[in-house]
Symmetry: C2
Subunit: 227 residues, 2 copies
DNA sequence: GCATATTTGTCCGTATGTATA
DNA sequence: CTATACATACGGACAAATATG
């Protein structure tokens, strides 16, 4: 790994828990693709680059390992997670189970859809700017908002973790516009169904959405991995 | 045969870090009730008692904190988690969502119910022995087996974590027999429905099971906390 | 409110064990 | 097989926060 990736981050270390701040920095670098899947994160190199001790760094590694962004191999160190085709399939199985169950479990309309509406608006802005990666983030926010309708802290946390993993998958897509753009409209349709109180239609749209996205990602993955 | 082909499997066998073994010990003590919710775990006391350094002990604390068995308060230390009434409500909301969705998402019968059958048998043995706490564990195993039918690694992990939290709740019940015993028969009914391929009935039974258990636990909690 | 004692947060140096070229 | 690099674990140190009288 090239330690200069973290050179500018030393100044950011000044607030709350050191380990959490280190984790924040590493999480950003992973999300931005500076630390691609499979990278080894050396305690020595990162510790000196950020100016923190190994104990503190290991604490940060633990946090990110729990978020499934890193994997820890005994006596070998930590690495940026490499997701397999099976992982992608499992992530979408979780999404189908939880997102559909959240919609199905809704009470009587109207629902508080402000967060979902904000996510669609965020997607519109990103699309207008041509920020396709940000559009992917906005789409993730929309689905997080849908699950949040269930009103459960723990369900929210599970969803947040799964969607964070999904970001690792998105990095494999070479054409972010072609992949993300169509789903903005599909989210708008899901939102409209919920606004009309039509849970059944919303769940159907959600199911086909997830099915299509999974197919695209797995096809792309299958092309990449044998290479 | 070349012994080196098994080199990678050494990690899968008896090897684990000191921190993980310490975490195992503490997890057992918590599950057994020796460290009741609210207990403060002093680094000094436990470190010397187990003969490990503070750094190693803190690593173990982190593992258990991520399992939600401990809570970490900055500059104050770690404590055995004290679940609130809201936590109990949230845990059952998650269970309703995931367990029902797992059953609803099942394909065409027959299903592989061996794990669920084994859990009911485990419950029968525990009831015959009068081991009511073990009966509670067996009931937990049954519901874990039901969720495992969904076949998703991530869903399984979520369920395992939620059911581990539930164990903390069970410690609040003063009459373990009165609480756990009736649910053994109800699990048997759910199993029978699944054996007959009747997903709809299984989901209905599951819903009422979870509703009743939640009511009992929350009532007990409400009696305890104001005291 | 203040001063003190205790405990945690962070870091370092080092010895040992493990994996890999 | 050896050498190197690295992770694991320990003990000690000091600063910072908290608890106690």
């Amino acid at each position: 790994m090239d330690p200069s990736v973290l050179a500018g981050d030393r100044a950011l270390l000044g607030r709350s828990s050191t380990a959490e701040r280190v984790a924040d920095i590493l999480r950003s670098r992973i999300a931005e693709g500076y630390l691609p899947p499979g990278s080894k994160l050396s305690e020595e190199i990162i510790g000196t680059a950020l100016g923190v001790s190994r104990n503190t760094l290991r604490e940060a590694f633990r946090l990110l390992t729990h978020e499934r962004l890193l994997v820890h191999e005994l006596n070998r160190g930590v690495f940026v997670r490499v997701l397999t085709v099976q992982d992608v399939n499992d992530i979408y199985q979780v999404r189908r189970l939880i997102e559909c169950a959240a919609v199905r479990g809704l009470g009587v309309p109207p629902y508080d859809l402000s967060a979902a509406e904000a996510a669609v608006a965020e997607g519109d802005r990103a699309a207008a700017d041509g920020s396709w990666l940000q559009l992917g983030t906005a789409n993730i926010h929309f689905h997080y908002a849908v699950v949040a309708l269930a009103g459960s802290r723990r369900v929210n946390e599970v969803m947040r973790a799964v969607l964070a993993e999904l970001r690792l998958v998105f990095h494999a897509m070479d054409n972010p516009r072609g992949f993300h753009e169509p789903y903005l409209e599909r989210n708008r349709e899901i939102l409209a169904s919920l606004q009309e109180g039509d849970k059944v239609r919303a769940e159907l749209l959600l199911t086909s959405y997830l099915s299509d996205a999974e197919k695209q990602l797995i096809q792309r993955y299958s092309e990449l991995l044998p290479a």
